[in-house]
Subunit: 464 residues, 2 copies
């Protein structure tokens, strides 16, 4: 990675640095509450936790992602001059409060599941311990960052499980929800096991392998498909893949066979062909035969166009001779579950465990830890959610990520997160490796249930 | 709108300027194809059109949005030094080509439907006429920008239709797909008729009204709900709304009645209460009675929590006494249809109409226009898609947006787009104002069908 400064959402991104730094990227109510906290002397330490209330219908597990961006955001978060200017002119805030905002720095501690960790409902993924106003202000962007990449990594992991050994490439930037979504989807899918992305900017930003083939427009701009293939080949793109479905897939495959020796004499090797429409399995079998009979058995078939984990699974089950898949819309929008029912909730303030009791949205109080046991084969056997000070059998999943506003030494890189994700997928119980949902045991420790009951009794009794 | 320079995705946003300007925010294949176009002398004029192939199952119409960001992107699009540095070190591109990239400027023309225009499948929304390599390169980000805001405006329009006269506020930043998605969702929903957003940065960026209430954490951080309400009121936030569902909604409503006179003596007026859980209609009726009996009939009820257009419709049909809705996840992810089946396709090159024929994805060739007729009541009565040079009865929907790389004089502002959107919703046929899908007649002009057949014959005949 060449000549890029490490800032913002990842090394090399000038892009999201500005976004991550402007603290106006928050809900207005955070600023209103912050002013009220300051005015009323609520300066104690707060513990907030981010967790998912309920998995989407077709998910058996989720994969944590986005922590690196959260940490970068918290380290860099400032109110810039333009931000303060806007807030002052809005007339909503006092001069004293605006001065405090000008000096804002996040000074808290963060514990979190390392990126790539598999997790389940009710388990805290990120815990923030900080002065109340700080922990409150950062809520919106923290959720925004933790939620999206977790959505995408969890979706991508399903595709990885459905296509063992195949090359998966993110093709989704165009239908991602904006620029940041496209970039972060490239990152989250790579983390979960994709081979790379088509999004060029993801390479200098995150050091992710970037791949490119060709589009129909290239073929259409030529009066003749073979001329288009030759023109494209002669520009010698790295990893030459020809798109063969613009007019007639099998006819184009025959064209590839005809021109391969011609370009080979110029030292150009065709590495693959891409199918993008129709019955992909049917075309793949036919094209494979045409290529093989033409002596091109080293040319691989790559498939794209409306791909999701179900289509991948079906193609693999039919044994379609496809070496890799380009996945766009279904990946970057997580089309069957574009959002998670997640929350970042106050669990403790000023040393007292707190609990929200809104109907259908009650939370487990206090600062918590997740303990995971494994069976003799090293597969996940069950989790327990307990108070952080109440050890349980198994391994703890939440680890230190920040201390006093700075990332801890040895904070994981994307490469390590990706390796961790692969290990985690390898540890899934067999039932959870399939696309249809299966249960996994997550227990609430008895002492945590007693703490929740104690919170309820305290509330019922009224203020001390 | 104070002291912000007009750049990037909207006036005042330093945020997305960088994103909009880096041309690495594109698929790698665009660069590969561009290099091949240049190497092979394909420097003719191309016509690309952006359109939607098929509406999502529960949409009767879509609403065009994102054009302002597209125009800003095309005006600002450059390869910066860091971009060029990366491309050079990647080893994929020739020195000659990199020099051409360094000088890249978009010099083309753009015609488009004004933002806020209602449109249907097969109708071009944006037409780009530019040198082939330019029109190719910008594809990815153009789709990225046009697609997302169109998705959101179309979803928001359904909510606006379901809640006539009610105040709708975007609450979605936290579950939006990244920062840009949150900001652009605030813009697109405001364009479609929302009253404003909770996203603070949307105010200086787009001059959108911003609203804020309070969160459960504020209540939880206090030992007592009434103390929390008084503390919050005394900070005198603009538009004081108290959140009353943290523990027991009706008990909290009674608390509001009790403390209202106390804070009124300090010159503080409670303007509303917010419900965020449980059966919202049931709570709204009960809370309304408690407030009215307590003499607080001027305090309005605002509802949030899992709101979408179907829930709004159901609440309105029950006559729930709710003055406004905060809508988050379902809006900013367009949860039932997070993506559109849309494309940006080459329709003409070097003066010759072109047509892709891939299975299920064939396109109508040539540069096109959409003509709309209205009935005697001024409601939309039917559209015709024709070649741009083949006039039809009705009004044309595509208008000039850019000439030679610059926006045309009088390019519409967000305020004008919002007014246009409101007019468009007022012109919908009655059946299209309901949530369940209904058909609308879009005809393909006979000459356009003949042109498509001629393209097919030309392809069948092979190269000239």
């Amino acid at each position: 990675m060449i000549g890029f400064k490490a800032v913002g959402i990842g090394p090399g991104s000038t892009f999201a640095m500005v976004a991550a730094e402007s603290l106006l990227l928050t809900d207005l109510y955070q600023l209103n509450m912050m002013q009220a906290y300051e005015a009323n002397g609520l300066t104690g330490t707060a513990v907030f936790e981010f967790f998912v209330r309920k998995l989407p219908p077709r998910r058996s597990f989720l994969m944590a992602a986005g922590l690196e961006q959260i940490v970068a955001f918290l380290e860099a978060a400032r109110f810039g001059p333009a931000d303060l200017d806007y807030l002052q002119h809005s007339g909503r805030f006092s001069a004293v409060f605006l001065e405090r905002l000008a000096a804002f720095r996040f000074t808290g501690d963060v514990e979190a599941m390392p990126e790539g960790t598999v997790f389940f409902a009710d388990e805290p993924i990120v815990r923030v311990v900080a002065p109340l106003a700080q922990a409150q202000l950062i809520e919106t962007r923290l959720i925004n960052l933790a939620h999206f990449q977790t959505v995408i990594a969890s979706k991508a992991a399903r595709m990885v499980l459905a296509a063992p050994g195949k090359r998966l490439i993110d093709f989704g930037l165009r239908r991602a929800h904006g620029a940041e979504a496209g970039l972060l989807a490239a990152r989250a899918s790579y983390l979960a096991g994709f081979a790379g992305t088509a999004t060029t900017l993801a390479a200098p930003t995150f050091d992710i392998p970037v791949y490119g083939t060709m589009a129909h427009s290239f073929v259409q701009a030529h009066d003749d498909e073979e001329a288009a293939f030759v023109d494209f080949a002669r520009a010698r793109p790295e990893g030459l893949v020809l798109l063969i479905d613009t007019y007639d897939t099998e006819r184009a495959a025959a064209t590839v066979v005809r021109l391969a020796p011609k370009v080979r004499r110029e030292g150009i090797a065709i590495q693959g062909v891409r199918l993008d429409s129709g019955d992909l399995a049917d075309h793949a079998f036919k094209v494979r035969r045409i290529l093989d009979e033409g002596g091109l058995d080293d040319v691989t078939i790559f498939a794209s166009g409306g791909i999701d984990e179900d289509r991948i699974f079906a193609l693999e089950r039919r044994g379609a001779p496809i070496a890799g898949y380009g996945v766009g819309t279904s990946l970057v929008t997580s089309s069957d579950a574009p959002a998670l029912d997640c929350a970042y909730k106050l669990q403790e303030y000023a040393g007292i465990a707190r609990r929200k009791r809104s109907e259908g949205k009650a939370t487990w109080p206090g600062r918590k830890q997740v303990w995971r046991r494994y069976d003799a084969d090293g597969r996940m056997a069950g989790d327990i959610v307990s108070h952080a000070d109440d050890p349980q059998p198994g391994t703890t999943l939440l680890e230190p990520a920040m201390r006093a506003g700075r990332r801890v030494a040895g904070f994981a890189s994307l490469a390590r997160a990706r390796a961790h994700a692969a290990r985690e997928l390898g540890r899934l119980p067999a039932a959870l490796t399939r696309l249809e949902p299966a249960p996994y045991p997550v227990a609430i420790a008895p002492a945590l249930r007693r703490l929740a009951a104690a919170c309820d009794r305290r509330l019922a009794a009224g203020p001390p």
